[in-house]
Symmetry: C2
Subunit: 280 residues, 2 copies
């Protein structure tokens, strides 16, 4: 594909916020628009770089002239990948941004979720399930942590935030593109799929009887595990906790009431990763 | 002290943003004002509750009538503690707030740091040192994590953000009041004090040769440790890393480039806590 001549458009005026393709892309800043188009916006150099590493799934790159100068390597990578590149005005870029300081660089990508059975294919050993997590920054940070800990998938279950929310994409710092993501409004379907994949379902619950450190020392974290994390404010519903295979709490040794979601997930997922890898 | 009659001031008009005591308190929303007065503002029900548990260090409580209704228990606790309570207008409360949605409840407190020698007194086993951490939310989250992991102190070193910054106070969710906090612009003084307290200085460094999980399995985390964490963007300077006793990285098993500061600190501090507690 000869993207080059088409891409640079040096003489053409930049697209404005009223250009139909920009208007169409702006719909992707809202969940309804993303769900309808099965596409979303990845903003900023890091997210765009990771998206471009996902061949065939980036449809268009909107860039301001200032951002194009700052990110010549990315523009060239997009050209090499045959991605349509469109120069946009600063105002058009701001309309495609969910951040206070727009980055001037936004890629239109296919949405990332895969069917549950695909995401959980291949004998997973470590999976993170988010159930009712409403803060997109927290959800994105958990995706980043799960990726770092070598998890095989992250599942957005129940009323959890859309993984393509701009804040979630940003907080994941590219990890959204690194490991399989699935989602389902039906938590029971998610739990059944995890069990079918041979995973033990462990509720992360501040009130659990079992303590993560004791479990770690007892060898109780070595088997394939799906950690289930609840909302920042309310944790997991009791009915969910009691329906899972077991529950564990991160021990609190000091005066803090709790950990926040991302730090608790980091401690849990790394505890499993360490235990599982120590016995391989 | 008969705070009650004095406190409620039911007939007096609420303080406005021009009332001298409110004007004086508003100076505490800036670092210079806090440094000058050795006082800071703790905003919101959780922070105020924790502050009141710190006898003699709360000087005044500003509260809107709406917040007083919502927090009758806290108002009574403040009365019992002999704290001066002043009703303020919504606008005055907004001027004392660093949040987008002011809570209407702000306590004027003594600043929390103690001298290094005091914070590190009593044979500490686990300490977190923040060096050049500029994001107040991250710093506050590390204080919360350190408290949860049972750390003995947190030290704000070098150009690290002021622990009394409103976002730091809020992110610590009260933990700022739970464990000794010290600060010093002179990082070498901090390192010397840690060594004098018998602590091994460990740099958390993404490029370190030693891996935290290996160290954990080898028993290399059992001794008293001061973890040194650098800035979100740049980590620790090489010269600092090489001047400490050792450095360790959180292993990255997947495709993520790194962890963010708070999640990395959670994994490191809990790894030490678990190792230290397993041998007691």
């Amino acid at each position: 594909m000869s993207g080059n001549s088409r891409a640079r458009r040096p003489e053409a005026a930049p697209f404005t916020e009223r250009t139909p393709r920009v208007v169409a892309a702006r719909h992707l800043t809202r969940r309804q628009g993303r769900d309808r188009a099965d596409r979303f916006l990845a903003e900023g150099a890091q997210a765009v770089r990771e998206a471009l590493a996902w061949p065939g799934h980036v449809h268009e790159l909107f860039v301001t002239s200032a951002a194009a100068e700052r990110n010549a390597d990315l523009i060239n990578a997009a050209i090499d990948a045959g991605v349509r590149i469109s120069e946009v005005s600063e105002k058009a870029a701001a309309g495609l941004s969910e951040t206070v300081t727009p980055q001037g660089l936004v890629a239109v990508c296919d949405t990332v979720p895969q069917p549950l059975a695909v995401a959980l294919g291949g004998a997973p050993r470590l999976v993170a399930v988010l159930l009712g997590v409403t803060d997109p920054g927290n959800a994105g940070t958990v995706v980043r942590v799960a990726d770092a800990a070598g998890a095989d998938a992250v599942i957005f279950a129940g009323d959890t935030v859309d993984p393509h929310n701009g804040k979630c994409v940003r907080a994941s710092t590219g990890s959204l593109f690194h490991l399989p993501i699935a989602r389902s409004r039906d938590a029971d379907e998610v739990f059944a799929a995890c069990r079918a994949a041979g995973l033990r379902l462990v509720a992360a619950d501040g009130y659990a009887e079992h303590d993560l450190d004791a479990a770690s020392l007892n060898g109780d974290l070595e088997q394939p595990t799906a950690w289930v994390f609840g909302s920042e404010a309310h944790g997991l519903p009791d009915a969910v906790v009691s329906s899972l295979d077991t529950s564990m709490r991160v021990p609190i040794y000091g005066g803090a009431e709790s950990l926040n979601l991302a730090t608790a997930a980091a401690v849990c997922l790394y505890a499993s990763a360490r235990s599982q890898r120590s016995v391989r």
